[in-house]
């Protein structure tokens, strides 16, 4: 029910997309509330205002495809169809969480959804995406990997190495740069002297394209092309989706960043409202359908909250599990 996963070749289903985007919005609003209630440890990074990107890209993927994610990863997970209850349980560090409470917000992983893992290291998953894509192909699958990352991450050396490696390997990767204008408290414009991050693709010999990251249809169109290219064996594409971070950087780091004017201007371009306006004007959705979708999304978040806050804390002894894989490894060996 939660999925924005369309069959490749189909067009974006407005109702599905709206549901996904609204679910992401409600989820991350709830996470911030729970953080403020001290139920979330560490930090959590809301995807608010960026929902069209995960939704548009992931809707272009098939079941066999994979994604890598970031510290700001809830949106990618939800768009990929992860269970919000188990996600929220993880964010709260509970037993039924996707990582049994070991990962928290920044490390949600769900192989059964082709979600290779969120990553607390900025730029840390670029190369992982390349390796997963290449190896899947080597194993005879026609997997495509969507690799999400921020504008800030595009300045890490890992971006460069991974793009170049993907290029020479013709790895089926779609690099998705979510340019939300900020890296924490620092403006993208002050850490790079280019207008479009997509221009960097030329340095690796593959296509780069910049799209309106608040327009889920535009994102989807770019994704369709990039996914088809990757799947055909022609190699990677860099999609830069321009958007804006409408929330604070994180639940922990709440210092002001954008100006009031900027926020107001971008609020006008809220990706959810934009999708609603468009869908109603094309007749794809009715007001009632929109309202009903929101109620459904809200209900899913309420159910997830109910589940997560009542879920058990993990047993302390489980802290010593999962360090190593082999079943013959003793506790003594794990501590060795």
């Amino acid at each position: 029910m939660t999925s924005g996963r369309a069959t490749p070749g189909t067009t974006l289903d407005a109702g599905d997309a709206l549901f996904t985007m609204q679910l992401i919005r409600y989820f991350d609003e709830r996470v911030v509330e729970l953080y403020n209630q001290k139920l979330v440890r560490g930090s959590a990074h809301p995807y608010i205002g960026m929902e069209a990107i995960a939704t548009g890209i992931i809707s272009a993927l098939g079941d066999q495809d994979l994604i890598t994610s970031t510290h700001r990863g809830h949106g990618h997970c939800l768009a990929r169809g992860l269970d919000p209850s188990r996600m929220l349980a993880e964010v709260l560090g509970r037993k039924s969480g996707y990582c049994r409470g070991k990962g928290g917000s920044m490390h949600i992983t769900a192989m059964e959804h082709g979600m290779l893992g969120a990553d607390g290291i900025v730029g840390g998953s670029h190369a992982i995406a390349v390796g997963a894509a290449y190896a899947s192909r080597l194993q005879g699958r026609d997997t495509v990997v969507a690799c999400f990352f921020g504008d800030g991450a595009a300045n890490e050396g890992s971006f460069h190495e991974a793009c170049n490696l993907a290029s020479v390997l013709d790895a089926p990767v779609v690099f998705v740069c979510e340019n939300n204008g900020w890296a924490l408290s620092t403006r993208a414009s002050s850490t790079m002297r280019i207008d479009d991050i997509s221009t960097r693709a030329a340095g690796y010999g593959f296509p780069g394209v910049t799209v309106d990251g608040n327009d889920v249809h535009a994102v989807r169109a770019a994704a369709d092309e990039a996914v088809a290219r990757a799947r055909s064996g022609a190699g990677p594409t860099l999609i830069e989706a321009k958007t804006h971070r409408m929330s604070a950087h994180s639940a922990f780091a709440t210092g002001e960043t954008s100006t009031t004017e900027e926020l107001a201007a971008w609020a006008e371009r809220d990706p959810i409202e934009a999708l609603v306006r468009r869908s109603i004007s094309t007749g794809e959705l009715t007001d009632e359908a929109v309202a009903e979708t929101r109620v459904r999304a809200r209900a899913a978040i309420e159910a997830a909250t109910e589940h997560a806050v009542n879920d058990e804390q993990p047993d302390p002894e489980t802290a010593f599990e999962d360090v190593y894989a082999s079943s013959h490894w003793t506790k003594e060996m794990r501590l060795a």
Binding site: R41, G93, K102, G103, E156, T186
Partner: protein
């Protein structure tokens, strides 16, 4: 004298004062890091530097840990005194080549032709639920890197004095700051002072057990010392402050008195700093030891997110307590040379 007036301030305030004073004192000092200028650093260590010293000396860098560390090396080579902030110390994994293969070795490889007065500092955020990629106490890697100086302060006083000493020192120096200590307060004099590099501090004198503790281990050890006082167990707490070079003399002198050693550090157990302290004490003070030293460390697991799990793997007061009781008990049957 107003210059020596004592105030109670937090460790992040103390570090911030050190930055202000050293940048004022020496215009070769500059600061670079992620979110350190406009935002004053995630934990306030660089607060107020941007308006005071300007954007040329207080730089919000791209997210490029390797490049800012390498730029620090280059700047140091030409006579500047850069202070590089790693937003979390775990990100040093991205800067290892610049710090280990460059900063640490450049002087040696050149036969002494160059100096690298670089400071790299940042927080260790264990204990707050930031999970495995934001909670590592990696000091032992750098202790294992000849050419580097490694510092871990446990009090505001030491933090300020050591940061000032590090900035003035001609060697590449890493300072690892436990985030949960940033908000702890302590007495710090106004005015200029340095805490010398390579000198341990006896945080509490005692006759029965020597506890060598670093960083977050120090408050744990002091708490245990207070708790055991009523039982008549007299704990001496030594904070090396500088991990490399280690002030072994102070430790050996203490063990000559107590005959018992507990080492507390928050890094993973295997290959951790506690192992190094034990190995060096075995070299230098074998004859003084009444019983085997005990290491209190983090478990050999990545740091988990959930509270009950994180507390399970990080050293707690009761772990230190148990260790101290243990060496007391076992140390009653003394080893002697026959």
């Amino acid at each position: 004298m107003s210059e020596n007036m004592m105030r109670t301030i937090s460790m992040s305030e103390a570090l911030n004062e050190a930055m202000h004073e050293e940048m004022e004192r020496d215009d070769r000092v500059f600061a670079i890091g992620e979110d350190i200028a406009r935002n004053g650093g995630l934990f306030g260590v660089t607060k107020g530097l941007l308006p005071r010293f300007g954007a040329a000396r207080v730089i919000d860098s791209p997210i490029s840990e390797a490049a800012i560390s390498g730029a620090g090396v280059g700047a140091a080579l030409v006579g500047s005194r850069p202070v590089v902030e790693l937003q979390h110390f775990d990100f040093v994994t991205l800067a290892m080549d610049q710090l280990v293969n460059h900063a640490a070795k450049w002087r040696y490889m050149s036969g002494g032709a160059v100096t690298v007065p670089l400071v790299v500092r940042g927080p260790i955020a264990n204990g707050v639920g930031l999970a495995a990629q934001h909670s590592q106490s990696l000091e032992s890697w750098f202790v294992h890197t000849p050419g580097l100086v490694v510092i871990m302060p446990s009090t505001p006083y030491d933090a300020k004095g050591l940061l000032k000493a590090a900035i003035r020192d001609d060697n590449p120096t890493l300072m690892l700051e436990k985030r949960l200590l940033y908000t702890r307060t302590g007495e710090v004099p106004t005015g200029d002072y340095v805490v010398p590099i390579g000198v341990a501090d006896v945080k509490r004198e005692g006759d029965d057990v020597t506890v060598v503790a670093i960083s977050g281990g120090v408050p744990l050890a002091l708490q245990v010392a207070r708790k055991l006082e009523p039982e008549g167990i007299d704990v001496e707490v030594i904070d090396p402050r500088t991990l490399k070079p280690l002030d072994l003399d102070t430790i050996v002198t203490s063990i000559a008195k107590t005959g018992r050693l507990v080492v507390v550090s928050e890094g993973a157990r295997a290959g951790g700093y506690a192992s190094e302290v034990v190995a060096r004490v075995i070299d230098a003070a074998w004859g003084s030891l009444r019983t085997a030293p005990i290491r209190v460390t983090a478990a050999d697991t990545p740091i988990p997110y959930a509270g009950p799990l994180e507390r399970e793997v990080l050293p707690q007061v009761h772990d230190v307590m148990t260790a101290v009781r243990n060496v007391m008990e076992k140390g009653r049957t003394q080893h002697v040379a026959v």
